[in-house]
């Protein structure tokens, strides 16, 4: 299964094509996964959510009004320059921030996931799964606390006293 290993390496380095990603997803959705690839199964389970995310479409119902040709050209030119300028600034900041302080770092079986988007998805998924395990372990504490509360002798005696008082009052009447 050298082929799958190569595809995995390309995938984690962000170099795989859509076709290759499809092949990997089909492989990990199937039943014939080799034991050495089992470790990657949660990764692809997490990445499967990618296809469910769809950007909402936006429609403009506003009526188009035609501006004079010269004004239109100036507006297009200015908007274009502004967009290029903004992109340049944003990109340089992003590059600086990432190189200085990476927000996510994921190393799967000795191989670093270079693609930040995939690293983020993987990290978020794994941290959330771990939190679920920890939360479930605290469930036992909660159950113990409830049992403790139910078996509180003082509470039981108080409730019994109240019941006796209630019976006494009803009997007198």
């Amino acid at each position: 299964m050298n082929d799958i290993d190569n595809l995995l390496e390309k995938y984690f380095n962000g170099l795989s094509s859509t076709e290759e990603e499809k092949r990997l997803k089909t492989y990990f959705e199937g039943t014939g996964i080799l034991p050495e690839h089992e470790i990657y199964r949660p990764v692809f389970a997490a990445f499967n959510t990618e296809k469910q995310i769809k950007a909402p479409e936006m429609t403009f119902t506003e009526k188009k009004t035609r501006r004079p040709a010269i004004t239109r050209h100036i507006i297009i030119l200015l908007a274009g320059s502004a967009a290029i300028g903004l992109l340049a600034v944003a990109f340089s900041n992003l590059q600086y921030t990432r190189s200085q302080h990476p927000e996510y770092m994921v190393i799967v079986n000795g191989k670093q996931v270079v693609n930040q988007h995939k690293a983020q998805q993987y990290a978020e998924y794994m941290f959330s799964e771990t939190d679920k395990i920890i939360e479930n372990s605290y469930q036992l504490f909660r159950e113990a606390a409830t049992i403790n509360q139910d078996l509180n002798a003082e509470k039981i005696l108080k409730e019994t006293d109240q019941k006796i008082e209630c019976i006494k009052t009803n009997y007198k009447q």
């Binding site: 470790i39 302080h101 990476p102 927000e103 996510y104 770092m105 994921v106 190393i107 799967v108 079986n109 000795g110 983020q120 993987y122 990290a123 978020e124 794994m126 941290f127 771990t130 939190d131 395990i133 920890i134 939360e135 372990s137 605290y138 036992l140 504490f141 909660r142």
Partner: protein
Amino acid sequence: MKKLFSIMLITLVFSAVASAQQVEKLFDKYMEDERFNYIYRKGSAGSVLDRTDLENLKTDAFNIRFKSDRNKEKEKMLILNSANESFQKSFMAEVDKALESDKFENTSYVRNGKDNRVAEYIRKSSDKMEEVRVIENGSGNVVLKWELYTIKKK
């Protein structure tokens, strides 16, 4: 005598500094090991939900960990997926030793079934707090999670 005292003092300081970060050293040691997965996340950045939002979503004991009197700076995990039982044992021995030498306090220990356990360890200073969780099951899986918080000043 003066010289000997200086050497002893330097050695003492050096050994104190060197032994103070044993848990972090474990992460450095195994992060690139093929038997492990290593995951790091900077606490305040990039997550879909802000940690304080989670207070409204979670309840009871779990909620305690997200109380807003502290900010999560960063967290990291080492996940061991090895069928090699003897390696799992030796790794766990290293974890226990590191926690002991870093003077972490064991605050909870949940044992569920024969081989499953979730243990929590905490170490506090005046402005920082570290939490370590160890999740272990008998089939060769160990998760070592480390979180660093800054305690907000009131």
